[in-house]
Symmetry: C2
Subunit: 345 residues, 2 copies
């Protein structure tokens, strides 16, 4: 075991700046890859694809083979939790997710007490199989959606420009909304613990819609539930490495400074590295934050953007990533160019 190569990603996550930053990209497995599009067509639906280990393992490994990223991330979706709680979830091609929206207490009462673990078993099997297949220097990441972001889909029944339905629900029925958040804290905690048991070496909590919340609501529905998940996971798995990605946290990033047990925070494209360095203590590694559109554009704009990110984090532990998921229209050659430039840094 002691001869296993040290993993750059895990070393950075431990708060140590590396000679060159480890790199992975959010949504690195997916539609921009021709080899992904080829296998995606073999499953009847997106959820079927996620729940079939043969497909999910292959999709998780494809970007590692092609680009040699420093971490692989489980191929899945944040909405498997509402699915496993019994809410109808479907992905219509080109349309994004559709759920049977929860509009009142009766809708909330229909949810199962805990996720259907049989339904989620393929995710754990995928992690186990990926773990044995990965090169020794590549780390394996699990993930879930943050309670606020998942709740916002469960209430709206879909993605919206600003998740207004959930924000309205929370203003009008804060107690009921708190019950839903609490249910998701419990489900997410148990889900992450099972991912860690299945081989994930770190987990990321995606709060894609954190940025639409005003300050008081941000504390109540974003920071507090994420902090609760982290505390509960680490109560059972004290060494769990957990990354939070509160997209759009902006001036509220500093509210994560005092969350115990947070290993790293993901920065969206709009955050200036200097601001994050000042807002968060040195024990928290910083991950991000190249504009995904710079990666689509390529050329000098891409190189300048990469260099700004590489040069922005000073002596802070840094994991190179995008500020949001890679876009389906991204040319594969631009990703190659990015990886070469980061490796040369």
């Amino acid at each position: 075991m002691s001869s296993r190569p040290r993993k750059l990603f895990l070393a950075a996550l431990a708060g140590e700046r590396q000679a060159r930053p480890p790199i992975w990209l959010m949504r690195q497995a997916g539609r921009y890859l021709p080899e992904y599009r080829e296998i995606r067509g073999r499953a009847a639906s997106f959820l079927d694809f996620c729940y079939t280990p043969a497909f999910a393992v292959e999709a998780t490994l494809q970007p590692i083979r092609r680009f040699g990223f420093d971490a692989a991330i489980l191929f899945s979706d944040i909405l498997v939790i509402p699915d496993a709680l019994g809410q109808m979830v479907a992905f219509e091609s080109g349309e994004g997710p559709r759920l049977d929206p929860i509009v009142d207490a009766a809708g909330l009462a229909k949810l199962a007490e805990e996720p259907d673990w049989m339904r989620l078993a393929p995710a754990f099997e995928t992690l186990e199989r990926v773990k044995t297949a990965l090169p020794g220097d590549v780390a394996l990441i699990g993930f879930c959606g943050a309670p606020w972001t998942v709740a916002s889909y469960m209430i709206a029944g879909r993605g919206t420009p600003d998740q207004a339905p959930a924000r309205l629900f929370a203003y009008r029925q804060p107690k009921l909304f708190a019950q839903l958040i609490e249910r998701l804290v419990e489900a997410s905690t148990a889900y992450l613990l099972r991912q860690l048991a299945a081989g994930a070496e770190a987990v990321q909590i995606f709060d894609s819609w954190a940025g639409v919340l005003p300050p008081a609501e941000f504390e109540r529905w974003c920071v507090a539930p994420v902090a609760a998940v982290i505390a509960k996971v680490r109560a059972s798995a004290p060494n769990a490495q957990i990354i939070a990605f509160p997209r759009g946290a902006a001036t509220q990033l500093g509210k994560f400074a005092h969350v115990p047990g947070l290993a790293a925070i993901g920065l969206d494209t709009a955050v200036e590295p200097r601001v994050a360095i000042e807002a968060l203590p040195g024990r928290i590694a910083l991950q991000g934050n190249l504009d995904p559109l710079a990666l689509v554009a390529g050329g000098a704009g891409l190189d300048e953007g990469v260099d700004r990110v590489l040069g922005g984090f000073g002596e802070r532990a840094h994991i190179f990533n995008l500020g949001h998921g890679i876009l389906p229209e991204t040319p594969v050659e631009h990703v190659e160019r990015l990886v070469a430039r980061v490796r040369k840094a």
Copy 2:
């Protein structure tokens, strides 16, 4: 003249905190008002409505009559500038704006050198007529879109979730994009100067899409052009009172601290007042920033939100507003409740 009542809004804009904050709401004239919906139907199109002083004057005055706001704002749209530069602009009901997108140098070359002032003459006539009709203590605000936000519509041809087409265009063809921005700086400057000459006592520059720009792009495409408009307007009208509203500026708000001649900055819903107070010098008044969804929700959530905004600005000059435009589904009674609570403060 000296007996004219002092205008609360202008006093706050001058950097003096008032016993109670002046209040107006972005999009205060519009679809949430039954009296607006009644007259809107009499014009064939939204642009026809804007360009007909009888309608625009009435729409501008309606919310003043109903709620007694401390400022009226010209009823118009930020896309009258591309329209006056010769780009095709249409508003389809329920669909948002549609423009003939600019995709290359040839498209840019088709724009007129300067706006068709005959086309925009109704805006100036509207301001003149509103000015004479307003109660003596109500201020009159003119406005334009910021170059970045207007350019983002001109390139995409429509609103998109994150104005990606313009961001891509700027990455790929920065020189061409800079030419478009420069054209808009000139047109906006001339447009605002004419509004001030027609009776506007302050003007607001709406940069609704500022928040999608990464740091370097934010400085180049948001701060610099807005600063240029302010400098150029004040070169001809040294006392012009100018408000910038860089929606989503977030951690980059401080970049406006050194913009000369900026009277106030509008804060979006996500900005904590304390953060803005620290980021911006005392000479810059702060405007905002109640969540428009709290106003839709009403009840205790609204009252708590109003109180947080009222209590958040300490000794800083503050103009009460929303963090974004009022939503069409807002109940009129909630606006009455808001105004009463702010007046009681």
